[in-house]
């Protein structure tokens, strides 16, 4: 493998990573449920692209399989499951109720990205391999942003998409640091992600049926008095 080829792939992976982080920021900034879903699909495609690039660079069939599994579950199966379980919630155009307004959310998001680099820094110092330098801090930043989205959103479907975005962030790191994880684990993880979407989707439907709203952030019957 010559080094200029490797550099091109690294540059492409860095570009993919930058776009990946942008989609994560998009979750924080978007106003519509449908836009969140589209961002999630885009983010999953970028995850698959990064897996494909690293797979080509490392000559690993395994990572190409991961890319294929990602596309199948996250861009096809999960949107289909969500449409089946909570279609009306996803496709109705309305603003998402949120705890913080967009400018202050984005300001906090910038701080979160800095924090992600602080967390990733000692790991990067310990082991030096090209893709890890790109994927590790960006993946951790996307994780933190996804978790932040869950905190500031009050709606069920955006909280679920935030959760799946966190998982995407973890896998973005995973393809770089653990490229030879057994395929059975990858497959099981893919099934797991689909089951998360199914369970949460069905729960959302039950909540909507029983409570009449999917603003889960407003449910507060249970607390200490």
């Amino acid at each position: 493998m010559n080094s200029s080829f490797f550099q091109v792939i690294s540059a492409l992976d860095a570009l993919t990573g930058a776009l990946f982080l942008l989609t994560a920021l998009g979750f924080v900034a978007t106003r519509q449920v449908l836009a969140s879903l589209q961002l999630f699909i885009m983010q999953s495609l970028l995850l698959a692209l990064s897996a494909g690039l690293i797979g080509i660079a490392l000559d690993s069939i395994h990572l190409l399989a991961v890319a294929a599994i990602t596309i199948a579950t996250k861009t096809l199966m999960i949107p289909w499951l969500l449409r089946r379980t909570v279609g009306a919630e996803v496709y109705r155009t309305r603003e998402i109720e949120r705890v913080l307004n967009i400018p202050s959310s984005l300001l906090l998001a910038a701080g979160i990205i800095v924090l992600a680099y602080v967390v990733a820094y000692p790991l990067l110092g310990a082991v030096k391999v090209p893709f890890e330098q790109i994927n590790l801090p960006l993946g951790i930043a996307a994780m933190f942003l996804g978790a932040f989205t869950i905190v500031v959103r009050r709606e069920a479907v955006p909280q679920l998409l935030g959760l799946l975005a966190v998982e995407n962030g973890v896998f973005f790191v995973g393809i770089a640091i653990a490229p030879e994880l057994p395929v059975i684990a990858e497959l099981a993880a893919a099934v797991d992600v689909a089951v998360i979407a199914l369970v949460v989707g069905l729960l959302t439907r039950s909540i909507h049926r029983r409570v009449g709203t999917t603003a889960v952030g407003r449910l507060s019957a249970l607390r200490e008095r």
């Binding site: 790991l123 640091i177 729960l203 409570v211 449910l219 019957a221 200490e224």
Partner: protein
């Protein structure tokens, strides 16, 4: 062979329970399946105590002392809770609960399977998936009552524990990375112990913290515990027994597995973190135990307290403290599941979970009052129950190793928590009933469960059979010194 059977039986039983014609059969099938699994788990435990560990062909499934302990506890509570479910769930449905009986038993079997899988699977990545499945398979069991409160509890349970599990996943991927950097070792608990001294410390430490916080969410460690009292109070009593009694223990087992791994790396020390997290959980849970208004929530907070005690005990280090840890795990699983069975029949008898609206239970429903008293004494740690003995062992081991501050704080909170639990239960059991309670018939299967579950409850504080003692010692050894 037993290990493979333990995997297959719940799948078969779950499938049979869901068959369209199986409405009447779902409960007996589940009970039979869990009884067989319990027998198999005991057989595995006996094998393991002879050979040190048991593994199935292909090395996919393996089980050492600590794993066997968790396996036996899950199998036992899985069985008693299935017996309790038989009468209890039928009764709930008769009283207008919208839950679906067959879906309950289908998910019940699979939920038990996912917990059995955690100590059995050799590959650590698969262990993570099993832990995650325990959440997903139990989500609808938590929301079984289909009331707005139950669904709210199920929602918080799924979102928060899954978020925690995903952070833990990053920890496991970093562990895998570390073991690869250290040279190729199998991605098993034993392989990680061998790889740990050669891993870059930054990787191992980050992975440890991610898993401690991520899975700590599911164990209910403070401050990630907020979902736990909701889920553990809104689920049907039979499911509470599983959630509080063994699901938390199963996930805590995974955290305890990190102890020898971090311990074998030079320069790293997990002990202060275990003690700090544990003491904070014990302290906050004790304060919540004082102010609690709902008796199922009270037992849930007591679970947070006990998880903290187990973590502190593990963090004290040394064989004696670890023996206390494993003993406490067993004592807690047995006592806490009993407490929730008692709480279940109490709710049946009085129709409320409010402590303040239950008075003079000993007159209106002597059975539930005596069950609550026995469970309360057992879980709060009165002699001669097992929790008393295990807490005594832990405190003594801590004093022997000179960790006076930690032991002082722990002893203080344990005593306060004891008083808080017994105060609330006394209020409920004695005094004059405010209003006349219509007599309620407690289903026979629930009575049978209480009788059955009270045997180990009363026994293991006084007398530990030698195979069990050997098992606890093996489990403590597996945790390292």
């Amino acid at each position: 062979m037993e290990l493979v059977a333990i995997f297959i039986i719940p799948i078969l039983a779950g499938g049979l329970s869901m068959l369209p014609t199986g409405r009447r059969l779902a409960a007996p099938i589940t009970l039979t399946a869990t009884a067989i699994i319990s027998a198999l788990a005991v057989a595995v435990a006996l094998d393991a105590s002879r050979a040190g560990h048991v593994s199935a062909p292909g090395e996919w499934l393996t089980c050492d002392g600590l794993g066997v302990l968790v396996l036996v506890l899950v199998a036992f509570v899985g069985f008693t809770s299935a017996l309790f479910s038989w009468g209890y769930i039928a009764e709930r449905i008769r009283h207008g609960s919208a839950g679906n009986l067959q879906r309950y038993y289908g998910l019940y079997n699979l939920f038990v399977l996912s917990m059995l899988a955690v100590p059995l699977l050799a590959n650590v990545a698969l262990v993570w998936i099993a832990v995650e499945l325990t959440t997903l398979l139990s989500a609808f069991l938590v929301g079984f009552e289909d009331t707005p409160e139950a669904l709210e509890a199920a929602w918080k349970y799924v979102i928060l524990t899954t978020l925690g599990a995903v952070f833990a996943l990053l920890g496991f991927l970093i562990l895998y990375w570390g073991s690869r950097v250290a040279g190729f070792h199998p991605f098993t608990w034993q392989g990680l112990v061998e790889a740990a001294p050669h891993m870059p410390p930054a990787l191992l430490w980050t992975a440890f913290l991610l898993i401690l916080v991520g899975f700590g969410t599911k164990v209910g460690l403070v401050p990630m515990h907020t979902w736990l009292p909701d889920a553990h109070s809104q689920a049907p009593a039979s499911i509470c027994a599983l959630l509080s009694g063994v699901e938390t223990t199963t996930v805590l087992y995974v955290i305890l597995r990190l102890f020898p791994i971090v311990g074998s790396a030079p320069g790293l020390d997990a002990k202060p973190w275990f003690i700090a997290f544990g003491l904070v959980s014990v302290g906050i849970a004790t304060l919540l135990l004082i102010t609690v208004h709902d008796f199922k929530r009270m037992f849930a907070f007591s679970t947070v307290e006990h998880m903290g005690i187990i973590l502190v005990a593990a963090g004290l280090g040394g064989m004696d403290a670890h023996l206390g840890t494993t003993y406490q795990m067993a004592a807690h699983a047995i006592a806490k599941s009993f407490c929730f069975f008692a709480a279940g029949i109490t709710v049946m008898a009085v129709g409320t979970q409010e402590i303040a609206s239950v008075r003079g239970l000993i007159r209106s429903s002597p059975l539930s009052a005596s069950a609550l008293l026995a469970g309360g004494f057992a879980i709060a740690g009165a002699p001669p129950f097992a929790v008393f003995v295990s807490e005594f062992v832990i405190l003594k081991a801590g004093l022997a190793s000179g960790q006076y501050v930690a032991i002082g704080i722990l002893a203080f909170f344990v005593v306060v928590a004891f008083c808080a639990v017994m105060y609330h239960i006394n209020l409920m059991a004695f005094g004059l009933p405010d209003r006349d309670q219509p007599a309620v018939v407690i289903p026979a299967s629930c009575k049978a469960t209480l009788a059955l579950a009270s045997v180990p409850l009363l026994l293991i504080g006084i007398y530990v059979p030698s195979p069990l003692e050997h098992l606890l010692q093996m489990a403590a050894t597996a945790m390292g010194g």
